[in-house]
């Protein structure tokens, strides 16, 4: 967090060159593609696709099993990707603490399941916020329903920040704080390091949902004060089907296994089993090998650009978008979330006149502008905002001011159309 907010002399991204690395932009039959939906899923650079292709073409075999060359090489690539990805988030012990899952959702489900099996007692309090994605909400609601944990919520204020005036009261006696690092609707970046410090004082462990944060910011689990971090590959230039759960070694060791099966044991008898060491204890069955390798290549790509540079790039785009949207549409557009650009990630959720987001999205699509319309898997937050749906534009490294211009022009068309 500290590192992220430190002003540095950032090197501007060369977006023209970056776009050449993403095949999707050259496969549109000459039509423009203004892709403003990376918060849902990002596009993939050629290097990621090639890394997966190369693995399948040259050295595919199952990992951790075969005593032959290509199997050993596959294992090296898979475990190498793990270490690389762990280092990317500042994991003190990347080889042991970086667990591959299917996505951020599975990472949080793993935690809610294993914590209720092994650490939590009935009636224990888990603290969430009102701005959580369903992925960091429904697993805990299931745990509440089936196991009997209690849930408390940190509220969201009218400006889109977490309301922290009674935070000590909320955290008092809590065993877990699970909080988003960046809201997928409001863009809000909660003060996670501060919250983690408070939570630890109250004896709670801290889980971060980094799905919208890790792809865009310098991430250091120690600076953030986290005990666990969940994120997904496909929002950070990687393939679908791969996510990560990072956790402190001692906490992971104390948890019971998640799914049972091959690879997660050191011994099995007809009466019982001995779980494997970290991280394999939590990886039952053949893992998504190609996807892990692909995510490793995505991390290489992001690191070559520099996460601080990426953040600066998105701040510039956000500023430009705020300025253009508000100067063109004034009171006809309502942008949700914090006004201070430094306090937000690269998403802009908005209401436009009284035009339903579906209609906006449909009209924008005619101009090749892709935005998300809907409740963004955050229905409690939408109810809090008093709306059923918003349109959302979100940025990544391949976006440029021309994307914002196309959005503004297309909204102008929607305005003319619906009158």
């Amino acid at each position: 967090m500290e590192r992220m907010n430190t002003p540095t002399t950032a090197t501007p991204l060369n977006v023209t060159e970056i776009r050449k690395d993403f095949p999707i932009f050259t496969h549109q039959n000459g039509k423009a593609l203004y892709f403003l939906d990376s918060a849902a899923s990002s596009q993939k650079p050629l290097s990621v696709l090639q890394a997966m292709d190369n693995y399948y073409s040259t050295t595919h075999a199952n990992v951790h099993r075969g005593v032959y060359q290509i199997a050993e090489h596959a294992t090296e690539l898979y475990e190498g990707a793990r270490v690389k990805i762990g280092r990317f988030i500042g994991a003190p012990n990347p080889a042991r603490e970086t667990i591959f899952t299917k996505n951020a959702t599975e990472s949080i489900n793993l935690l809610s399941t294993c914590l209720t099996r092994g650490r939590l007692k009935k009636g224990d309090v888990v603290v969430l916020t009102e701005m959580e994605h369903h992925a960091n909400l429904v697993p805990w609601l299931i745990a509440k329903e089936q196991f009997g944990i209690e849930l408390r919520y940190i509220k969201v204020d009218s400006e889109g920040y977490l309301a922290l005036d009674n935070i000590d009261e909320i955290l008092s006696g809590a065993k877990v704080l699970s909080v988003t690092l960046a809201s997928n609707v409001l863009g809000t970046l909660p003060p996670v390091a501060h919250l983690a410090e408070l939570a630890h004082k109250h004896g709670a462990i801290v889980i971060g949902d980094g799905a919208q944060f890790v792809p865009h910011m310098v991430t250091d689990v120690t600076d953030l004060g986290l005990d666990f971090l969940a994120f997904t590959g496909h929002k950070m230039l990687g393939p679908t089907g791969i996510g990560v759960l990072w956790g402190k070694s001692e906490l992971l060791e104390a948890l019971p296994p998640f799914m049972g099966g091959g690879d997660m044991i050191t011994d099995v008898t007809l009466d019982g089993f001995t779980p494997n060491e970290l991280p394999w204890k939590f990886e039952a069955g053949t893992p998504p090998i190609a996807e892990a390798i692909g995510l490793g290549a995505a991390v290489d790509y992001l690191q070559d650009l520099g996460m601080q540079n990426i953040r600066e790039h998105e701040i510039k785009l956000l500023s430009y978008a705020f300025e253009r949207l508000e100067s063109n549409f004034g009171k006809n557009i309502v942008i949700h979330g914090p006004r201070n650009i430094q306090d937000r990630g690269g998403v802009i959720s908005f209401d436009f006149r009284d035009i339903h987001p579906h209609d906006i999205s449909q009209i924008l699509d005619q101009s090749g502008v892709c935005v998300r319309a809907g409740h963004h898997c955050a229905k409690p937050l939408m109810r809090h905002l008093g709306i059923a749906a918003t349109a959302r534009a979100s940025f990544h490294i391949y976006n440029e001011p021309a994307d914002v211009d196309a959005l503004v022009d297309a909204l102008g068309k929607a305005q003319a159309f619906f009158g």
């Binding site: 035009i355 579906h358 209609d359 009209i363 229905k379 059923a388 749906a389």
Partner: protein, 156 residues
């Protein structure tokens, strides 16, 4: 790519801006059903006042996109004063026009093609273009599925 004018016909925009039969009725005497599209968050409630097997009056309230709102408005005009048998026929030809159809729980279901004249559909024909935008078909059929739900709830 089909043009916007295929989707947003003038009649549709008119019903969206000036929805007919908007509001609620006390239940009873009215029966009601709530419909929602979990994908996009569109919600509406259909209130029916039946007189024997005739829909004597209908009110609809809710929120949604122009297609779901205008389709609800157009439906309210089309079914008001009609017998349940006539409504059933309208439902069948409407779903046939939508060709890819969905049942009350939003699952696709096969629709038998049936013969009908455009005259029978009346203003509902304005929604014909929706079929070119498959993701929007659910918007257009939401009100009809909710109407069916209200009638089925009553029957059970």
């Amino acid at each position: 790519m089909p043009g916007l004018e295929d989707l947003y016909r003038e009649i549709i925009l008119d019903h969206y801006r000036n929805p007919r039969n908007e509001g609620t009725f006390p239940t009873p005497p009215a029966i009601k059903a709530e419909g929602h599209n979990p994908l996009c968050g569109d919600e509406l409630t259909v209130f029916l006042i039946l007189d024997g097997d005739v829909i004597k009056d209908i009110h609809i309230t809710g929120q949604g996109c122009s297609i779901s709102r205008s389709s609800a408005s157009l439906m309210s005009v089309a079914v008001k004063g009609k017998s349940l048998k006539e409504v059933d026929h309208l439902l069948k030809i409407f779903k046939s026009m939508m060709s890819i159809s969905t049942n009350a729980s939003g699952e696709p279901e096969a629709v038998e093609p049936i013969e009908y004249s455009e005259r029978e559909l009346g203003e509902l024909i304005a929604l014909q273009g929706v079929v070119k935008f498959p993701v929007r078909i659910k918007c257009a059929t939401l009100s009809w599925n909710t109407l069916v739900q209200a009638l089925e709830d009553r029957a059970s």
